[in-house]
């Protein structure tokens, strides 16, 4: 965030205070070792009560990877994430296509834009029951889909077997969004692709506009 001019404030899981931040990012990592299910235990962390309240009040909340899993577990986002279809952890740069501009991450990004961002997860296969899936698609809640470099969505470019190649979704209100790829690992050109830049820039814009 700092690279883009924002300021990060780390929040401790056992606290109950969001320290007045303008946006909440639940980062990746392995909360509680991801034992049981990814995010299953973390979503009961005391700070999550505040995050739920913040989200209900329309505050922008972004979940990345493990953070996405936590938001699904907490019921803030639809669906669930299970083990990759290969059953193996995957760390690789993928392409995702932006499917909706109605999220704090994509407000400033055109639908159809293709971004290069790394994924690194063992449990990133997005699933939902048939009805849920129909609703997610019907209401346009899909924010990102895995795709090829030219934007084609097909099985070959679906790294983990996610239903409908879904890489990220939002809630109905559009203020909570989660995704498996790691935009924060795609900001610094020294380290590789920079597909995360427009997303995090959009989040900053969005958060500032609300102040």
């Amino acid at each position: 965030m700092e690279l883009l001019g924002g300021r990060g404030v780390p929040l401790w899981h056992a606290e109950r205070d969001l320290a007045g931040v303008d946006a909440v990012i639940l980062p990746g990592g392995f909360s509680y070792g991801d034992y049981l299910r990814c995010g299953a235990i973390a979503r009961f962390a005391p700070i999550m009560e505040e995050v739920v309240r913040f989200a209900a009040a329309g505050g922008p909340v972004v979940g990345i990877c493990n953070g996405f899993q936590i938001l699904c577990e907490a019921g803030l986002l639809p669906g669930a994430l299970i083990r990759n279809r290969s059953l193996r952890f995957i760390c690789r740069v993928v392409h995702v296509r932006v499917e909706s501009s109605r999220s704090p991450l994509t407000e400033g990004v055109a639908v159809g834009e293709v971004l290069e961002i790394p994924i690194k997860h063992g449990e990133g296969q997005f699933v939902a029951g048939e009805e849920d899936l129909a609703r997610i698609e019907g209401e346009g809640l899909v924010v990102f889909r895995y795709c090829g470099p030219d934007g084609t969505v097909d099985d070959e470019h679906n790294p983990n077997g996610s239903a409908h190649a879904i890489a990220g979704v939002r809630n109905e209100a559009g203020n909570v969004v989660g995704l498996m790829p790691h935009p924060e690992h795609a900001v610094d050109p020294d380290l590789g692709p920079t597909g995360g830049q427009p997303l995090l820039a959009s989040l900053l814009q969005h958060a500032l506009a609300r102040v």
């Binding site: 669906g79 083990r83 029951g129 849920d132």
Partner: protein, 86 residues
């Protein structure tokens, strides 16, 4: 009193089970071609200290629903309690 329970958490029918599929895929190479519908879930055993088995069971029920399973994709089942010698 201590009661030991076993909770079985299974993936909802209709959802794809990558682990089950992998096992099914490995079986023929080992000579077993007659196995179908392999589904992998979780088995969680735990001991609850409670005054009655009913109270203990109610608590396990709640833990299974809220923590041990994710209702979006999983079902659970509780196996009978055994009393554990103190």
């Amino acid at each position: 009193m201590k009661h030991r329970f076993e909770v079985l958490v299974t993936l909802r029918p209709g959802l794809l089970d990558p682990q089950g599929k992998a096992i099914e895929g490995a079986l023929p190479a080992m000579g077993w071609t007659n196995v179908r519908d392999v589904r992998v879930g979780k088995h969680i055993a735990l001991t609850v200290e409670a005054d009655s088995v009913e109270a203990a069971r109610a608590q396990v029920e709640e833990m299974a629903r809220r923590l041990l399973s994710n209702p979006v994709i999983e079902d659970y089942r509780i196996l009978d309690a055994r009393e554990v010698p103190a």
